[in-house]
């Protein structure tokens, strides 16, 4: 087809005054990108400075700058405060950023690829699988001190992958269908089965219930950088893969058949996005337990603010997701200080009412 063919004369005038290419609306506005970065930095500074021991912000900044190569400044922090900063606060904030960003962008990815506004990173058996893995580790493995590395996150990670894998295999074998409904139904079945296994193991090992329960509610308490190093590669790879699919997720918004006719290998896109989001979520769950609602609250808020396109939603979910979880963790630490509320309780406390708002707000529902 030749679009530069001569136009008929009767349309000439109207054509001439509109030949300039209009900018597409579907792009990330720089103002929103800046807002996301500011929110993330502000949340991180608040998360580092505030706590049972308040660290002066200027001293924190000097201490951070001191670690830069070629920079040598005196932070003025005592040895104890320096230890609090580098071994407690900073790893915890960085972990919060990674987990929050991962859960939020994974949620956005699931929502795009399933065209379902309530799709969640814990869909497809991830949460139940991680729960079984963690429960088995708590109930049957010897105490963590005897291990070179804490086996709990690894067991939860393996369980999460087993959950997703079982869901995928089940949905393919039952119907051979490429659609999304069978995948989600298989996820429900796998979750029910894994939860039953977990409950059975718990009943047989009553003394472990408390630890299992604490793990399920989610927490970001860390000592040192082990957890950060454990999930960093997964979060990085998974986020890059998801961001790369931002335009294709917009195309998939018109449905599988039309997207196929437009040239999108829909099944391949769905598999890649689900695998990336699931890997990242499994890693996040492994170190932080089940922190609910982040994957729904953040993408929907971003969608309401910055528009429908995944070109905005995915990068902004990454930034605001990190900021959101750091602030939530701050709340969890501060409200009943010195006691800590499980962070999953805080996100659910905010998230459940938000869920109702999402349901009532037609704009986010899509077709």
């Amino acid at each position: 087809m030749n679009l530069t063919a001569p136009r008929p004369t009767d349309t000439r005038d109207e054509v001439d005054d509109a030949v300039g290419a209009p900018a597409p609306a579907a792009r990330l506005r720089p103002a929103w990108l800046a807002a996301g970065m500011v929110a993330l930095v502000a949340a991180c500074l608040a998360g580092i400075a505030l706590g049972p021991v308040d660290l002066p912000l200027s001293a924190v900044l000097r201490s951070l700058a001191d670690r830069l190569p070629g920079v040598d400044v005196d932070s003025g922090l005592s040895a104890r405060d320096t230890a609090i900063l580098w071994q407690l606060r900073l790893p915890r904030v960085v972990l919060g950023v990674l987990v929050g960003a991962m859960l939020a962008i994974a949620g956005a990815g699931y929502q795009g690829v399933f065209r379902n506004p309530l799709a969640d990173p814990y869909l497809l058996g991830i949460a139940a699988g991680a729960g079984v893995g963690a429960t088995l580790a708590i109930a049957y493995l010897p105490a963590a001190t005897r291990w070179w590395i804490d086996p709990l996150p690894l067991a939860a990670f393996a369980g999460a992958l087993a959950g997703v894998g079982a869901t995928y295999v089940l949905s393919r074998s039952v119907t051979g269908d490429r659609g999304t409904v069978s995948l989600i139904l298989a996820g429900v079945a796998v979750a029910a089965f894994f939860t039953a296994v977990q409950t059975f193991v718990q009943m047989r090992n009553a003394e472990s219930i408390r630890r299992v329960y604490a793990w399920i509610l989610g927490r970001l308490s860390t000592t040192g950088w082990d957890e950060v190093l454990l999930i960093l590669p997964y979060v990085a790879v998974s986020s890059v893969a998801l961001l790369g699919h931002r335009r294709l997720l917009d195309v998939i918004g018109v449905g599988d058949r039309e997207a196929t006719a437009l040239g999108v290998p829909v099944t391949r896109v769905r598999v890649v996005v689900v695998v990336a989001a699931s890997l990242g979520t499994a890693a996040a769950v492994a170190v932080s337990g089940l922190i609910g609602f982040v994957g729904i609250i953040v993408p929907h808020t971003v969608r309401l603010l910055a528009g429908w396109s995944y070109r905005s939603i995915l990068p902004l979910a990454l930034l605001f997701g990190g900021a959101f979880l750091v602030l939530t963790d701050l709340l969890a630490r501060m409200v009943l200080a010195p006691a800590e509320i499980p962070i999953g309780v805080v996100t659910a406390f905010i998230g459940a009412p938000f869920f109702v708002v999402v349901l009532r707000h037609r704009r986010v529902g899509g077709p």
């Binding site: 087809m1 030749n2 679009l3 530069t4 063919a5 136009r7 008929p8 349309t11 109207e14 054509v15 509109a18 030949v19 300039g20 290419a21 209009p22 900018a23 597409p24 609306a25 579907a26 790369g244 699919h245 335009r247 294709l248 917009d250 195309v251 918004g253 018109v254 449905g255 599988d256 058949r257 039309e258 196929t260 006719a261 437009l262 040239g263 999108v264 290998p265 829909v266 528009g307 429908w308 396109s309 070109r311 704009r363 899509g366 077709p367």
Partner: protein, 280 residues
């Protein structure tokens, strides 16, 4: 199946080079056969109307060509077998205007039209200036440039149909498939959309294969009618050869008069009285 081929010697419309060759295409959904081995050669630059009753397999055949439903057989455009080609290459050979397009909330006309550039971008790529220019030119050509930044959902039915057509045009394919392109429109907008498709067919050297329900209107635009029933071709030829009262009664279970309009075209008039007498 082709029990009613035109008599030998009559002129077969569009004997030019083939733009689209469909060979023994079958589509099955479980136990149900929707398309049962259809073979069809469509000449370049022609307009072929796929007609037939509901469930005849028209939409399934079009979906099979675009790869949206699994099918066996061969579909060839410009030497490429589309059924074995990857989606991206297929979408550079055929574009589809769907019957009920899904138009996401809030998506603007420009963004929606740019979806049609997907097959011309790298797998994870985004549109460049050239793609934007093609979209802008196409919007101008379809008199849609004033709506470029409006959400598609806020436009009227006829305008939305032109937007969907624009999305198919920016795919820059030699073959354009239309699935009931005017089903949701009033008679005036039907005429306008079909006239537009006909104009684009000439200007852009397109080959059109369109599933059409309005047989009178189809007869005014199509060079050739292919009547599908029960997944197979029941008749194939010029509109006057395919549109006969007997055939309409047999395949559509409808009683009609086929009359010649003052301008020489064919018109179908539903005949209710006969239907009542025969107790239908």
């Amino acid at each position: 199946m082709a029990d009613a081929l035109p008599e030998p010697g009559t002129e077969h419309p569009g004997d030019g080079p083939a733009a689209l060759t469909i060979d023994d295409v079958r589509v099955t959904y479980g136990d149900h056969t929707a398309v049962a081995g259809v073979s069809l050669t469509v000449a370049a630059g022609t307009w072929t109307a796929l007609i037939g009753p509901n469930g005849a397999g028209k939409t399934s055949l079009l979906h099979a060509i675009t790869g949206a439903v699994p099918a066996t057989g061969q579909v060839t455009v410009a030497g490429d077998d589309l059924l074995s080609a990857p989606p991206r290459r297929r979408a550079r050979r055929v574009a589809l205007v769907p019957q009920r397009p899904v138009i996401p909330d809030e998506m603007t006309v420009t963004d929606y039209v740019l979806l049609g550039r997907t097959a011309h971008l790298p797998y994870l790529g985004v549109e460049g200036g050239g793609d934007l220019q093609i979209a802008a030119d196409t919007l101008a050509r379809l008199h849609l440039h004033a709506f470029a930044q409006r959400p598609v959902q806020t436009l009227s039915g006829g305008e939305q149909q032109r937007v969907v057509l624009a999305r198919a045009l920016v795919q820059q394919t030699p073959v354009l498939l239309l699935d009931e392109p005017t089903a949701a429109l009033d008679i005036g907008h039907r005429q306008q959309v079909l006239e537009l498709v006909d104009r684009l067919r000439t200007e852009c050297e397109l080959t059109v294969l369109a599933a059409m329900h309005d047989l009178t209107m189809a007869a005014q635009f199509a060079d050739r009618f292919v009547l599908l029933d029960d997944g197979g071709i029941a008749a194939d030829g010029a509109p006057a050869q395919v549109l006969t009262p007997d055939r309409i009664a047999e395949h559509f279970d409808a009683d009609v008069h086929v009359v010649t309009a003052p301008d020489g075209g064919l018109a179908l008039i539903p005949a209710r009285s006969t239907a009542r007498e025969t107790g239908r």
